[in-house]
């Protein structure tokens, strides 16, 4: 039940966010900052986060896509040309 509760929320997280949350949960449980019942919930969330991270890592993309050049819109084009160099 609890895992299902967290799943949608967790699936939206980036790897970095997920591992950050995970570390947060681990240290909270380790320091006994949260009551037992909450820590059980947090434990399940932690395990779901670990699964999410593993899923990301196991997606071996190993491919290269090509970004095609996109002409900037006309309005920006003129400005682009005239854009002063930073601090120039």
């Amino acid at each position: 039940m609890t895992e299902r509760k967290y799943r949608d929320e967790i699936n939206k997280l980036t790897f970095e966010q997920a591992i950050h949350q995970l570390k947060d949960i681990v240290s909270k449980i380790e320091q006994g900052e949260i009551p037992l019942q909450d820590s059980l919930d947090q434990y399940e969330k932690g395990m779901a986060l670990i699964k999410h991270c593993r899923d990301i890592l196991q997606k071996a993309e190993k491919r290269i896509e090509k970004i095609s050049k996109e002409e900037p819109p006309e309005s920006e084009k003129g400005r682009e040309d005239a854009e002063p160099l930073l601090g120039g």
Binding site: K23, I29, G32, R54, Q58, E61, I67, L86
Partner: protein, 481 residues
Amino acid sequence: MGAAAYNGFRAMWLPLEGRSLEMFMQTQMQTRTKIYTVTQVNALIKEVLDTTLPAWITVKGEITDWKEHGSGHRYFCLKDEESVLPCAMWRTSFAKVKFKPANGLAVVVSGNIDLYVPQGRYKLIVEEMMPAGMGALQLAFEQMVRKLEAEGLFSDAHKKPLPKYPQRIGILTSESGAAVHDIADSVHNRWPCTRLYLYPVPVQGPGAAEAIAAAIADVNRRNEKLKLDVLIVGRGGGSLEDLWAFNEEVLARAICASRIPIISAVGHEVDVTVADLVADARASTPTKAGVVAVPNVEDVLSELVHQEKRLTGSMRARHDISCEYLRTVLASAVFRTPLLPVLNREQHLDDLAWDLGDAMRTIFIQTQKLMQDYREQVARIEPHRLLGRMMVELNELRSRSLAAVTRVLSGRELKITAGENRLAALNPRSVLNRGYSITTNKQTGQVVRTAADVRTDDLLVTELANDNLIESRVTTKIDKG
């Protein structure tokens, strides 16, 4: 020695040029008497070089075999198509060189030829070094670095932190070069879960810098959709001229302006470009891009395992502590013997009952004893004997009183009989026995004493002895009275 020795040398070697072997052998015999030490020979050569070569010589060549010694001195060779010239540059001279000499770099150097006697080797001792051919670019590079550095473009304040776990990486490089594969492999070997997006750009020639700068701006503008975590901008090794696009100001400013962190990966280890200086991080070559851009998946996996162990471990510990706490609570007297308070009171009650029983028994025993005492006292009194005595006395009194009464009664009886006799003599009816009678008027019931007591026709009753009665009627009254 000096000139004489020099002439001797010349005499020794000149015969080889055009003269007969015989003549040469002859000359040999003449000079053979003189024996030189190695040092003398080297010193002789040094003397010759010092006196015959110009003291200041300028040489153009390409640097090769460049060595930087710990002492700060530099040792290298200059070469051209056919020949190699060993060179040394002392620390104090090298300190004045503003650019970074490296293998393959064409330079113009000035100094003097010197022979190092202990080894019999000569070197060009370089005092000045200037880039050759690329001198203008080099100068431009140095000027650019100084300018941008003064503006603070290379300062850490401009450096954006790299994402720790990039999922989408943009690569800005040539589609045809080897760099794109070097970069892709170096990233994917360490971190296979990332997606790479190649933005093809020219990396050398006129307009390359502008094209790369435009690409960086384009990607930044479209990053809402592209969602790139980091960009790698680079190319493979080449001449300073080939890499020049990465030293141009327009690219430097585009890199600085990028909101997406940028890693530069240009040329070989030794090549440092302006792009490297301004980028948020630098990979020394395209093949090192992965090390800079992404973590090692193995490390991250073991970190995950570590976190998992900590999580389950701490959870288990937490659970154990709670269980232990529960056990402690359950082991407390309240739960172990919940009836204890009741039992305690029961025991108290028992004690009281016991005390009460004791008290009752004591009272009972005391009472019994008291009764016993009384019984004994009573027994000592002997009432039956007392009663017996009293009975005897009583009997005696009764017989005495009986005798007395009998005596009195006997006297009284005698008197009564005498009286009776007298009384009987006085009874009117006893007169009757002697012939007297008593007449009574039946109407009035009065004894008839005189004639006046009766009227004619009255009925009279006359009583005689032995209760005989006669009724008679008055017929005549004779009153004489």
